[in-house]
């Protein structure tokens, strides 16, 4: 027993972050990422192709009167007359070079549109995530009923499920009505000043805070029932110091959850950005889907999938820093 333990312990100190140890993990994860990106691209392409409605007639508008010859010419111009497999291969090849063509509606380059909208959403998502973490953690800690503090835990432990249950657009509209129209503290719409970020970020943060609050509250309660917490009390630790240790331990499942929440934020941003009229990824997505803009939607889906994969890759890579018991395994 002791020999085995010594072998492990001896190799413990040398950094767990060396490139040699990371390389097989990274290779595998990047291959997975590539697969996810390809699969999401293909799926989107297929769905949009088989949906009723012709992209060219949408592009021209419902009322446009075009004679069949001109219509065919436009179709040929965009390559819609080619066999499906050629269209797919061509689109995939260009997608590999981050070229998703031009939007069928605005005529702008899809990549450029995404690049323009991404920072707006990223800023929003980042602030929303920070708010989620702060709100979720506060709720989870308040639900604990620590010795020597007032006992309101029952009340606070119910709030996260309400947060999760209320739909995003309802939250958004309520916040708008109260803070923008009644109190007039912040502007209702737009994406120019930082003040316009407050309400949408809060809207986006609330479901995330609910999820995080629930997960963290559960794992905190579990952590507090563990022996080492009791032992810290027996060693005379203050409740605040114990909370620090407990939060570290309880954050592990919540950390994985945070990765998922960032992914979910992209989806929720469709509603939020529409409600608050912000020119971000969500708004772009809503436009693309409404107009059957194959190029734009394909580009957006691949972008979302990649974002999702990258965030989860980051979570996987950071996890062993939080939990020394986990090792990188390819």
């Amino acid at each position: 027993m002791s020999t085995r333990a010594s072998g492990q312990a001896a190799s413990a100190r040398p950094s767990r972050w060396t490139f040699a140890r990371l390389r097989p993990v990274l290779t595998k994860k990047l291959l997975q990422a590539a697969f996810v990106a390809w699969a999401s691209f293909t799926l989107t392409f297929a769905i949009l192709y088989w949906l009723p409605g012709d992209p060219v007639s949408i592009m021209l508008g419902a009322d446009a009167q075009v004679d069949p010859a001109a219509f065919a010419k436009i179709r040929a111009q965009y390559g819609f007359d080619r066999p499906l497999i050629i269209q797919y291969a061509d689109a995939l090849w260009r997608a590999l070079h981050l070229d998703f063509g031009t939007s069928l509606v605005t005529g702008k380059s899809v990549t450029a549109s995404i690049a323009e909208a991404a920072p707006v959403t990223a800023q929003l998502a980042f602030i929303a995530l920070a708010l989620s973490v702060i709100l979720g953690t506060t709720l989870a800690v308040l639900s604990l009923d620590l010795p020597g503090f007032p006992r309101f835990g029952v009340i606070f432990s119910k709030i996260p499920s309400i947060f999760v249950a209320v739909p995003t657009f309802v939250v958004g509209l309520l916040l708008l009505q109260f803070f923008a129209f009644t109190l007039r503290w912040v502007p209702a719409t737009g994406s120019d000043s930082w003040l316009t970020l407050v309400l949408p970020a809060l809207t986006l943060a609330i479901p995330g805070a609910g999820l995080l609050g629930q997960v963290l509250s559960n794992s905190l309660h579990q952590t507090y029932s563990e022996t080492f917490i009791r032992l810290m009390r027996s060693r005379g630790y203050s409740e605040l110091r114990i909370l620090g240790h407990a939060l570290h331990n309880a954050s592990l499942p919540a950390f994985t959850m945070a990765g998922l929440i960032v992914g979910g934020t992209l989806a929720s941003s469709v509603v939020t950005e529409t409600v608050f009229s912000r020119q971000g990824i969500g708004r772009l997505m809503q436009m693309g889907v409404t107009n059957k803009d194959i190029n734009l939607v394909c580009g957006l889906i691949v972008f979302s999938a990649l974002t999702y994969v990258v965030i989860n890759l980051l979570v996987d890579l950071l996890y062993p820093l939080l939990d020394p018991r986990v090792e990188y395994r390819a």
């Binding site: 002791s2 312990a9 010795p147 027996s234």
Partner: protein, 554 residues
């Protein structure tokens, strides 16, 4: 001992003074009969080791929690004529005042060694944290030096390696030593140790206790040792208190408690501590012609570890097991005992060697024959809490093996379940209960009944009584003996507990690191062990030194 206390502080004659302590977990139900602690009274001398002996549920841990103010429930009620630690009244302290007491004046060590430390922080940083907490003058560099020094005090030769390790990289015994160092960090006057070694192997147990008592003697600290193991208490304590259902029934110096126990319960505990008695299992007399039921020859098994390297579980194991015989396989965790029985029962396949059961080769069995073998060779596991499906009723649990082997009609199966239940000494009403409504000993009886229901010839008992209290353990062992005689069973008994092996088996097989180091009749192994490892195990067993006290010769 006066030297420990500060000059000028009024010194009480006793370090801890408890009188008429009553405790309720639920204050709303505070009636005399619902007390968890009943008029508990005792005192601790300075610098002495006092042991409280009792079974689980006797109130030992409740008492510890009362002394430390660490109750899991919030609406408890505590009444005491006196609960004083030195010059402090422990019944009326604020949270802040408790923090002055805990760690600084009273230290605490828990049973769960591996859970005693934050799994996410290095040993060093946790030890530094508690040292700085109690000695705020320590600076970064000096705290590190102090932590390393404290690690040497609990017997680590290479403190730097331990300092840099995470808890999961150390064994249970090593973690417990770190926890001891952490408990001693505030230089307390009293250490409360709640079953500090119950979860550890015999030799590790001895090592940890040695380090604990040495560290305590060095600093003149008093120790209150809570244990279910009377033999262990007899070896270490100056004074023994026996607890039963929340009451202290015996209180006296170790020697007199062992030689002249006053309370019936103490007498029963002494009788139930096999290491303290002279009773050695008497070998079943076998007719020499009896052919072995189980014949094992040169059995070896190797596993691949995570990196693909081969790890030998056990190698070249050979032995015979005759009908109606009890063979104990003794060894510490990791010695390959469990891998061996799993292979014997064909739950995993051996690499080389052979197992013959009743004359046929177990390794060649297939389909129906293998199923027949499973009927004849049953197994009882260590943990009666995990080995029974908690969602099923007892009748379903007992009938399941018969259903699997397609024996009898539904009503015949029910009848068999009923009769076996009475065989293992449980009332018929238990048929409709679920495992969660039973005690550990009752569950293990169910597990035994379930193993016996197919009418096996061989019963493999893997640490089958290790999770039970001493008295439940005795009752189950007696039941097993009675069943063996009436049903003609053959037992293969796996245990790390030498006392149980000594009392229960005809022959003993000592395993170490996957090899048999010694093999012989029980009396012979215990009176004249040949292999140094066997001797080492025997000496490490609690009660080895104290047995002389009971019999009055030394």
């Amino acid at each position: 001992m006066l030297a420990i206390t500060d000059v000028g502080r009024p010194t009480q004659p006793n370090l801890l003074q408890v009188a008429d302590l009553n405790f309720w977990y639920d204050a709303h139900q505070a009636r005399p009969e619902t007390r968890a602690l009943k008029d508990v009274g005792f005192s601790l001398e300075r610098g002495a080791i006092t042991a409280i002996v009792g079974e689980s549920g006797s109130g030992k841990s409740t008492l510890i929690n009362a002394i430390l103010g660490l109750h899991s429930s919030r609406n408890h009620r505590l009444d005491a004529r006196s609960l004083r630690f030195d010059d402090v009244d422990l019944t009326a302290l604020s949270h802040r005042q408790w923090r002055e007491i805990r760690g600084r004046r009273i230290g605490y060590i828990a049973q769960d060694a591996s859970g005693s430390l934050n799994p996410l922080r290095r040993i060093g940083s946790q030890l530094e944290e508690v040292l700085v907490l109690h000695h705020p003058t320590l600076k970064r560099g000096t705290a590190r030096k102090a932590a390393l020094e404290r690690l040497t005090h609990v017997g680590f030769d290479d403190p730097q390696r331990i300092f840099d390790s995470y808890p999961h990289q150390l064994s249970g015994g090593m973690n417990q030593r770190v926890a001891i160092a952490a408990a001693l960090a505030g230089n307390p006057q009293l250490i409360l140790a709640d079953e500090p070694t119950s979860a550890l192997d015999v030799s590790v147990q001895r090592q940890v206790l040695d380090h604990l008592t040495r560290a305590i003697k060095r600093s003149g600290v008093s120790l209150l040792l809570i244990t279910h193991d009377l033999a262990l208490a007899a070896d270490r304590a100056d004074r023994i208190l026996v607890m039963k259902s929340g009451e202290i029934v015996e209180n006296g110096p170790t020697r007199s408690v062992l030689s002249e126990p006053r309370h019936e319960y103490t007498k029963a505990l002494i009788a139930a501590a096999p290491m303290l008695t002279d009773e050695v299992g008497t070998a079943t007399t076998l007719s020499p012609a009896a052919s072995p039921l189980l014949q094992v020859r040169d059995l070896s098994k190797t596993y691949g570890d995570r990196k693909g390297a081969a790890v030998s579980a056990f190698a070249k194991v050979s032995f015979d097991l005759h009908p109606r015989e009890t063979l104990c396989i003794v060894g510490e965790s990791g010695s390959g005992k469990t891998s061996l029985v799993r292979t014997l029962l064909q739950l995993t396949e051996a690499d080389t060697g052979s197992v013959a059961f009743n004359g046929y080769a177990v390794g060649d069995l297939k389909g129906g024959d293998l199923k027949r073998f499973r009927r004849d060779a049953q197994m009882v596991y260590q943990n009666p809490y995990a080995s029974l499906n908690s969602r099923h009723r007892i009748s379903t649990i007992l009938r399941e093996p018969l259903a699997i082997h397609d024996i009898g009609t539904r009503s015949e199966q029910k009848e068999a379940a009923r009769s076996l239940l009475s065989r293992v000494g449980l009332p018929e009403s238990f048929l409709t209960r679920r495992p969660s409504q039973l005690s550990g000993g009752q569950r293990q009886r169910i597990a035994i009944a379930r193993a016996l229901i197919t009418g096996p010839k061989l019963l493999v008992l893997d640490e089958a009584v290790s999770a039970l209290d001493v008295s439940a353990q005795q009752a189950v062992l007696e039941l097993l003996k009675e069943l063996q005689e009436s049903l003609g069973l053959t037992y293969l008994f796996i245990t790390h507990n030498l006392a149980v092996a000594r009392q229960f088996s005809d022959r003993v097989l000592v395993m170490r690191e996957g090899r048999i180091v010694e093999h012989g009749a029980t009396a012979q192994i215990f009176t004249s062990p040949q292999h140094p490892y066997t001797r080492q195990l025997l000496e490490a067993a609690p009660g080895f030194e104290a047995s002389a006290l009971v019999h009055g010769h030394h």
